[in-house]
Symmetry: D2
Subunit: 411 residues, 4 copies
């Protein structure tokens, strides 16, 4: 463990046991006279008055609670949605892009309050430590970084409770916490407990935001989501701000059991892990946006965007948000999505978000072209020429092969 | 229209009105004394005795019915499944990879029976003409190609019926056919009718192989699919041949309403079109295989395979099956999937195939590594070094930026 | 051949025999009362007064000569250079991106002068017809397109001369033209003649802009090219406009024998062909820019940009300039190159442009980091953690393999 | 520093000062009674008798000298060449793929001689430590790894000499070593000294294997290299084994000054560095192979292979040789290169390897197709249909745009 000493440390503080015991520990081990608890509201639904009070009771000398919900959506969630980024086929990156905005705010507070170090409560085996610390490096590489879970001897929840009791850290939850969870306005993640064995089905008690298929209504519900340039802007024809819109979509999707994911994923630090995720409203948005793009993007742009979406997802998952590569990808996506404006009707039913209609003023779909009847714009015989050109390398290869075979067997 | 004359023409024959009227037309316009009707059984479930009889009644001089079902699965469907190829996010390529095997058989018959031309019944606006003709070029570029639907004056179903009646072609269906369909053991596609407007929901009468969500059982059903090196080999622990296995999976998935797709797609010949697809058993297989790969493929191979799956899908969709590129991609996939062996348990419920467990003797998932408790194989402090190396370019960029800012504002 | 008749046709006119005979032919076959000859100056170095006079003498009713040189560089060449696009390892796309700007101007003139058709002098086997006509479709899909070389019976240079003589078209060159060439300020291409056999070396008489290695000076020459945000802006410290800068670089590189290419390439229309290209100044620019990027781009952005450069090159080669995909790629490149500002010193010597120094105010190169001596910013032991995380999937795989082997051979 | 003790350590030993002082240091710090010096001959041209003697004199208890030259070429160099892998535009990976074979042999010796640890002499800032240790993990993750340069206090060449003198390690070179070099049969690398500043030209004294342009002969020399399935097999028509062939090509290219590279590269551990490389024979092989592929690979396969070559190069550079991803890529490449058989004639002249002819029995080049004259295989009017299909999305987009504009401005 480092023998460094710091005067003032900014801690990314959540109010849970994990970050609470860090406060006395930092004072004890790094001699910090002051601890600034930075609390980011990204829509996790906590009582931030209580969180603030708890931080102070636990020994924080300052607490900053920052409402980041709208900035989170417009600056992080929407760009990733526009990019179509999905990690390992399924994961909508809910935790991944929350870390950079939290860490950026933490750095801002640290610099404004004269801190000489940054601390977080992530373990040494997960992705979150990477996401936090890469953001620190992007904004203040000169500040020291403290990751107590990589340093101390606390090795289990029991150890943590013992440490808390020995250091007068208030512990609200006495019941055993089965799952490790992370929530924000976009999603909730679940890890640990029975989920640690990928051979076992996720137990029903894992899920928190979405109804089971059995409990979801038997009757479908139709909604219409409107987009402007790839960004969601309305529900059923009524313009809505990002927070109100997503909040409403979360309710609707949750009621219909939409947005559950069970995933064995590849962590950036090298191991596989298994998690469960609920992204109810986000699932509706991604589904709807893809349907709209099917009208507004031409084939080649859509295909390239699919490739880049894989790269974008990996980058976000790995915490490389504040990088030139992400900025360049965003420039591509913003340009490509300029005309992804229109409305998509979805049928919500028994865990499904089924497309029930798409419309766009910039639609490239021409029913005249697609239909089986004739028209002026497309001359069917053109297809013969097209096939002949596309097939020229194929036919040439076969002809040359035939010639060689003839020569071998000839004369 | 060409004034060429042919002696003997091999026609890809389905028994439907579209290909039936081609027989007299070929004789009339190309002076062909002989027409060989090539009928491919790819699991579409037709009565091939009737198809044969109809071809002869309509004027074919020979009929060859080829049972290609198993070869279709092992030589075309399984490789595409192993590659993870999905077109435009959703389409499992059911029609795309059926065309090459049918056309290849047609060429074989044509060469064996001494034909000088090949004919098919595809329209001039679709993908199928490309898939047929690129296969012709790959195996017999010396044979002439006749695509009556690009040449004649028949412009509608009504025209076709009139032509049939004028030429003594028996017409079984008198009821109006709403949708244009293509079926094989892997899937059925639906186009036309109300589907031509992407703003309208697909009517319930479109679907043929899968129950509606309302009709699907309220009780879930669990099944376990086994794979060996990326190929499905068993159901619920019992080894099964490809045809029996997929047939059973189709029944199971169909009963639970699984595998419906509503898609606005980008055709190779340039326009967008809208189609509906049902791939019941295939949806189970793709879902299960992805879950198994999550255990058996390492992160980097999995990521690259995702990229290549996009390319593979485009290639198959475009009819470029018999190309060196497809062969090279298959070599990659076969190598990558060598250890994708194991079992995946699925819960079938209300249109969903939900993963309920994955196991593999080659699993790279280590619960010891993934858990929050410590162990010998992973030293948490390693993560700090990892982050510092990964973040070095980020930190360097910021430091250099800070230096420049200092220099500008200094002295 | 079409029996359509047009009133006024805009022809992309070069002054050569190929486009000259088109003028009487269009009048004869399409009944056109008026022919507007559109002459684009893209730096090919012709005497445009003579070209104008010849067009009128040959029967054109109007001639428009448009100076596009600077727009060609800033709007087409620089973006492609910034993207780093090179086709088939070597080709700097000199003809490819000239076609779109010429065709765009042609359409503008056609619309302004009330034409109802567009004509060009490209053959039916090459890429240029595609590049012209895709541009026509992007700006005026309603205008008819006439490609005489795909339509008429003229099949050789001899046929063309005979037609010219029969129609009073003046023929200046009586000597046999060996090579087919295309020149602009960026490059010159050569095809035909002895080049048609890829087993033969390109004869010395092919080359026009660059000295042979034997004739190039024995003494090297040093120059320094400056860039701002990926665009060349200066030579040896003196700011220069694009046309003056490239003109000077062409002289310098030509004198030193730099920029010859001998290429077997894959045409968009399906066949392979062989061409020779000279891009003297462009070779210096691409070389220099890559060296500068090595300082200013971070690894991940540079790597992704290399991938996208392949796609960009294919797109430009194929004539898909006026597409949403190119616009989106440009957005990526512009963002990525924002800090590619600085100077690169080159040594020109015997056909080589060798880097002799690179500097940038935004350089990410830190000699302190790269050196073998220690420093504060990089802790060597971090590398151990980095390697352990990177190697975790590798080690896990081997350990699991070892365990299985032990189990098999055990008890 | 670890307090672990080891009984027997296998050291990757070169005979230089860097690895020599490690022997006494390992004994001193890890209590190792036995040190096995593993010396890999990869064609660096050392006197291995002397190296062996020196190891023993310095305290090694066993020395194993392994001749890996041919295996290095056939198992590592040829596959990378076939893949077309080049890192950062220029680097032919000479050091990168030598590390895995050396480390693999070291592990084999360690296991055969009962070692409990592996040691190497790489610094903590470079790529080589990664390449060594990832190979260790692939074959023996159970063995401990010791990287003295990351652990000890020796910080400079002076420190190392002092340590050597204090521990009776013989020092042959007393003259100041300016550059850090790594050589094998494929290449030599140079780092350090004046090369550390990328603004400075590489001094002439850097280069060892290639003549300067001034000293290269004024007369060109022609050679012909033969390949079978992408692997070099002959020179000027005479079959040659890999070692003899490359040795001869190195002489030829070196005499003509071919194969120098000056590179600012992106290291895997995060920083940029600058190096100079000479790969004389390798440059001829890569040049020739690309020319042959231009005949034998179809466009789409060639294009995809270019993309994968970038990935392959990154993978090799990063030391990820023994991974499933590399194996899968090799499978792709082997399949794609099956018909890359033939001969390429090169003109060696003043630092250039210029193509002077390519021939292949599997050539897809058809001069009949490429020429301007007509023929049966290609109907020029097909191109019109091709263009219309390719351009359909472009035209549709413009037409829809025009319609909207009309509607807006209309009545």
């Amino acid at each position: 463990m480092s023998s460094a000493q710091f005067k003032k440390i900014a801690l990314a503080y959540s109010g849970g046991l994990d970050t609470s015991i860090i406060i006395p520990w930092l004072k004890e081990h790094y001699g910090a006279a002051a601890i600034v608890a930075v609390v980011a509201d990204v829509g996790q639904g906590d009582d931030f008055g209580q969180v603030r009070a708890k931080a102070l009771r636990t020994g924080a000398t300052e607490v900053v609670v920052a409402d980041l919900v709208e900035e989170f959506l417009t600056g992080y969630v929407w760009p990733t949605l526009k990019a179509g980024a999905v990690y390992d086929h399924k994961y909508l990156l809910g935790t991944s892009f929350a870390r950079p905005i939290i860490a950026k705010k933490q750095v801002e507070v640290a610099l404004a309050t004269g801190c000489d170090a940054l601390a977080h409560g992530c373990t040494g085996k997960g992705n979150d430590q990477v996401r936090f610390e890469l953001t620190y490096k992007a904004f203040a590489p000169q500040l020291a970084v403290i990751a107590p879970w990589r340093e101390w001897d606390i090795r289990s929840r029991e150890d943590a409770i013992a440490y808390a009791q020995a250091h007068q850290v208030p512990i609200e939850q006495t019941v055993k916490k089965i799952y490790s969870r992370d929530q924000n306005i976009w999603h909730i993640s679940h890890e640990g407990g029975a989920l640690e064995d990928p051979a076992l089905e996720a137990p029903e008690d894992v899920w928190m935001l979405t109804r089971s298929l059995a409990d979801a209504p038997d009757q479908p519900e139709y909604i219409t989501i409107g987009f402007a340039a790839g960004v969601p802007v309305s529900l059923d024809g009524a313009a809505m701000g990002p927070v109100a819109l997503l909040t409403r979509l979360n309710e609707l999707a949750g009621r219909h059991g939409i947005g559950r994911i069970d995933l064995v994923e590849n962590r950036f630090v090298g191991m596989k892990s298994r998690g469960a995720y609920e992204t109810p409203g986000g699932t509706l948005l991604l589904t709807a946006l893809r349907e709209l793009e099917a009208l507004t993007l031409d084939r080649d742009t859509a295909f390239m965007k699919q490739h880049l979406a894989l790269d974008y997802a990996r980058l976000v998952y790995n915490g490389l948000w504040f990088t030139p590569q992400r900025e360049a990808l965003d420039a591509f996506v913003n340009q490509a999505q300029q005309q992804t404006t229109g409305e998509v009707k979805l049928r919500l039913h028994k865990g499904h978000a089924l497309v029930a209609g798409r419309r766009s003023p910039y639609s490239l779909f021409s029913s005249e072209l697609a239909s089986f009847t004739m028209n002026e714009q497309y001359e069917q015989r053109d297809a013969a020429g097209f096939i002949n050109c596309i097939g020229l390398p194929i036919a040439t290869r076969t002809r040359l092969h035939q010639q060689r075979a003839t020569q071998r067997h000839g004369g």
